[in-house]
Symmetry: D2
Subunit: 196 residues, 4 copies
């Protein structure tokens, strides 16, 4: 199974860069979620693997866990077909699928084109990507494609159980040191997800 | 189970009114499909019941049956959120979900607004709606929401087995005599589908 | 898809040879079912493919179709592990799984051992096997493993639509002319079923 | 979600009382598993909720977790229909369903009748029952019916993360102080499981 990485060597999660939010009265920052385990589910509304597997899993996590301890956050990371996956389409999707957890819109450096900023900063390979961030803000699981409920549950259980050592400063490696290729726009989606 | 209606009293299927087609080199008319059983699957790309149940069923029908005898036709009948379910969004959806059967775009009387023309002519209640048309062009099954594979299979088997009486003229009732209310735009979708 | 065979060349279905029945006040013969389409579902209670796929399908067929036109019959064809799949175990299984359709127990030539008589007469390859018998008593579909609901529904629809020609005598070929090997008792089961 | 109980007040898990084992060269005791989290899955081979949901979940846990840290143990706790759920039937079931984890047979006080000894000692309500035992041998989760994969995964993650305090002696309450009614033999099974 996909296991969470070691706390001592984990990278600090880059702050979310968003151009808008849904299902929340105000923008959410990772900084404001310190003390909670963060489940960051990134997706695209026309990615079959996201709609059929990833989003329903995010919904289950949101329904089963105490929001005071586990924050479920969606992030719409559109890296292809930008014209038809804008904020208005996302809003209709969220309404019709009755999603209730906060969902941010990944921001672009300029007009929507290629890979958006947060997706780039995390070096995501495509959608869906599941990222678990521990209570001190470090990335502990980063997985493209499907992750079983057993694994996600296990990882949340392990991360919530960790003692927070206030004095320690975990290595703050720069996760963006390697470039993510710009989207080829080829729309290469399969049952697992859509690749950049 | 939902059963096909009697051949003698069935209404003639109104011709499709479309503004475009995908997955076919040229527009398709019901008239050109006489002699085949037609499976008309109507949907919207942001209707969860369509994406999760209706569309996969249409795919299975398309894969299991001989296209020389059974024509599977999709029809995008957008009656709400018109701005984000245009032809370009439909094209991306079809591409990402790898749909292969011909899909028409229901036409509006003017700009996209309210219920489109074919949807109105068939008095559909919402999406998904499954319509089975017999080899002589008559509507034999018309169902909003989900229909089991057993029922769809049974109906196709029964319709393909019918003798075609060339001399008979089945009652050509006008199916559009009752008005369909314009969409309230309320987006009332549940597990079964989205209602007008 | 698996299609029903031609009526003209179909073999007459051998009569069921049973040592007991459940869910019916008296034994059922195929002869008594002439005029109905018969869905004969053969299984073993410890065959995973039967319990997880075949039996639920038989239940759906029983629930969806009119018993006056479609008779769903189960047949417990034990060809291995005879000691633990006797009538008492079958009765508990039927009770716990809440099966309601009539289920016969395939008979042995002597003590339970090897392939039972009806299974042998139909030359079945293992369990589950689905057999469709038309209204005149002829075998029209004979399939080991899984058959899709679309196919089963289609076949029932086609068979129910056939005109019964009272004067014709369809070829009554002897389906038991080739031997079925005795069970090796190897318990070779996979996701599809258990082979003799 | 079902949460694990507090370590300080948890009861010591009564030792397993078995009359036989499968998938293991020698009997397994809980005492020998100290240091591991134990997933005890109790079931009956003719309990639909066990066969369709509980057993597949136990298989997934066995496949996903490291056996050096998580021990998956099955226990056949037959409280009804004893005549047809003996060791020989269990062995065939395990063989056909290809189960690989160790499975014990709950013991009776005398001939098989009513509720067996381990089931009684744990005051189980029926099958399936999932019991999680921490690394010091205490019962931390005890649930009749279905438990989601998210919850099971979470609980395992939390229990594996606990520090073991060698000096502490958690309360060793006697879990068997209340009587379990003898089985009525009514076979009251539903989608969730079979109740005593």
């Amino acid at each position: 199974m996909a296991e969470t990485s070691n706390a001592a060597t984990a990278s600090m999660a880059p702050e979310l860069q968003t151009s808008g939010w849904l299902n929340t009265p105000k923008p959410i920052t990772l900084a404001s979620l310190r003390g909670k385990v963060v489940v960051l589910h990134t997706f695209q509304i026309f990615c079959p693997g996201c709609v059929q597997v990833g989003i329903p899993q995010a919904q289950r996590i949101y329904q089963e866990f105490d929001p005071a301890r586990v924050a479920v956050i969606g992030l719409h990371t559109v890296f292809e077909h930008h014209a038809v996956m804008g904020p208005d389409a996302l809003e209709v999707f969220i309404h019709e699928y009755r999603l209730r957890f906060p969902i941010g819109i990944d921001k672009y450096d300029g007009a929507p084109k290629g890979v958006p900023l947060t997706m780039h900063a995390y070096k995501m390979q495509g959608t869906p990507t599941l990222i678990l961030i521990d209570r001190t803000g470090h990335i502990r699981l980063h997985k493209f494609g499907h992750v079983s409920d057993l694994t996600v549950g296990f990882s949340i259980g392990a991360l919530l159980s960790e003692e927070i050592d206030e004095s320690s400063g975990a290595a703050e490696a720069n996760p963006a040191s390697e470039a993510v290729p710009a989207s080829s726009g080829s729309g290469a989606c399969d049952a697992d997800g859509c690749s950049v």
